[in-house]
């Protein structure tokens, strides 16, 4: 199996550089037209005026914040089960990007909420569960940082990541399960999107761009983690 070759840090290290380069280019390819459509092509909303344009950042960031958490928990679990170093390194590399996305979603949401709802923040189920997600990311990073031995840090943080995964469906379905101030999903797999097509196109392009950026930046980060953790193993210096 050729694929397994890349499951060792030694072989993944050069591959990650190539993946990062390709995905940074892709992020620009989707992001530039996405921003252009978002700012210049997409029409003004009939109710919110220009304030709605926050969705071109807010929605992709919120999607990524949840998705990255699931991927992070998946790799953490794989690392725990198969005892593979690289899996835990991937989980470790994803956490800061996930935290950044969560913060962006909360931050842009507050800026949108002030003119639209009339408040920066409310303790409704959607906003609160997203805040819990930020704490989970920060907790994961902090727990890792507090344990000296990286292999023990892998195990402890993996358990936190796996347990925290229950929060993701809570965030996603919170607007369905409870009365919340946050509106329901405009775009979902189960129904036609309730958005003008130009707005939707801009948002999807931005979402793709966020995906590509997250992959690229995680690859760069995993390279740094490999450099840190494998510095004594010898192969890096050759």
């Amino acid at each position: 199996m050729r694929f397994w070759k890349y499951s060792t840090p030694q072989n993944f290290y050069p591959a990650a550089k190539k993946i990062a380069a390709v995905f940074f280019v892709l992020a620009l390819c989707f992001g530039i037209p996405g921003l252009y459509i978002g700012f210049f092509v997409a029409p003004t909303d009939h109710q919110q005026g220009e304030a709605y344009r926050i969705i071109f950042i807010h929605v992709p960031a919120a999607w990524m914040s949840m998705f990255i958490y699931v991927v992070m928990a998946f790799w953490a679990a794989v690392g725990l089960i198969l005892n593979t170093r690289l899996s835990s390194m991937l989980a470790q590399a994803l956490a800061p990007t996930g935290a950044l996305m969560t913060f962006l979603a909360l931050w842009t949401g507050a800026f949108w909420g002030r003119p639209t709802w009339g408040t920066w923040w409310v303790w409704d189920a959607r906003l609160t569960s997203e805040l819990v997600l930020l704490f989970l990311y920060v907790g994961f990073i902090a727990l890792r940082a507090s344990i000296e031995d990286p292999r023990r840090a892998d195990k402890a943080s993996a358990i936190l990541a796996i347990v925290g995964v229950v929060n993701v469906p809570i965030i996603y379905f919170s607007v369905k399960w409870w009365n919340t101030l946050h509106q329901g999903a405009s775009v979902s797999l189960t129904k036609a999107p309730s958005m003008a097509s130009d707005m939707l196109l801009g948002m999807l392009l931005m979402a793709l761009s966020f995906w590509m950026y997250s992959i690229a930046v995680s690859m760069l980060r995993v390279r740094k983690i490999i450099r840190d953790r494998e510095r004594n193993s010898g192969w890096l210096n050759n």
């Binding site: 003004t44 009939h46 639209t116 709802w117 189920a125 796996i162 347990v163 009365n179 329901g184 958005m195």
Partner: protein, 146 residues
């Protein structure tokens, strides 16, 4: 069983137990997690009496009245079954509109109306340009007049 299979099973078991625990907690908290109550729940007396709570629904068309002093307003909130009169002193959010969603925080007065100390506009999930909204409105009016 190999150790790695054991670990996999253990993780699945932990995840299942945590999910179950979360489910039970959420079920227990269900009523407390409600961000707002509907006018029907208010009429049926399912709302807290002693403390402030929020009601949510649609602002009834034509119900918005501004008082002489310029800051007091009153309007009705409906869930299409029951309506509650709300009075409020303060600035309404930009998106506050008749026929649109609203969430008001405050308490019930003795005569059954709601005295709000905060009013938030609840946005819906529809995003469209003004022309599309106008076309939709016209189509609805056509339908009504038929």
């Amino acid at each position: 069983m190999k150790p790695r299979q054991k670990r996999l099973l253990l993780i699945i078991a932990v995840l299942a137990l945590v999910s179950l625990a979360a489910l039970l907690v959420l079920k227990a908290f269900k009523s407390n997690l409600v961000f707002f109550y509907t006018p029907t729940e208010v009429v049926e007396g399912k709302v807290p009496v002693a403390r402030a709570f929020r009601i949510g629904g649609m602002v009834v068309d034509g119900s918005l009245q501004r008082k002489q002093d310029g800051v007091s307003v009153s309007f009705s909130v409906t869930d299409t079954i029951h309506a509650i009169d709300v009075t409020y002193e303060g600035i309404l959010p930009d998106l506050f509109q008749e026929g649109k969603g609203v969430v008001a925080q405050g308490r019930l007065s003795e005569n059954g109306s709601f005295i709000a100390d905060q009013v938030l506009a609840k946005h819906d999930e529809n995003y469209m340009p003004p022309e599309a909204a106008e076309a939709l409105k016209r189509a609805r009016e056509m339908k009504l007049s038929e």
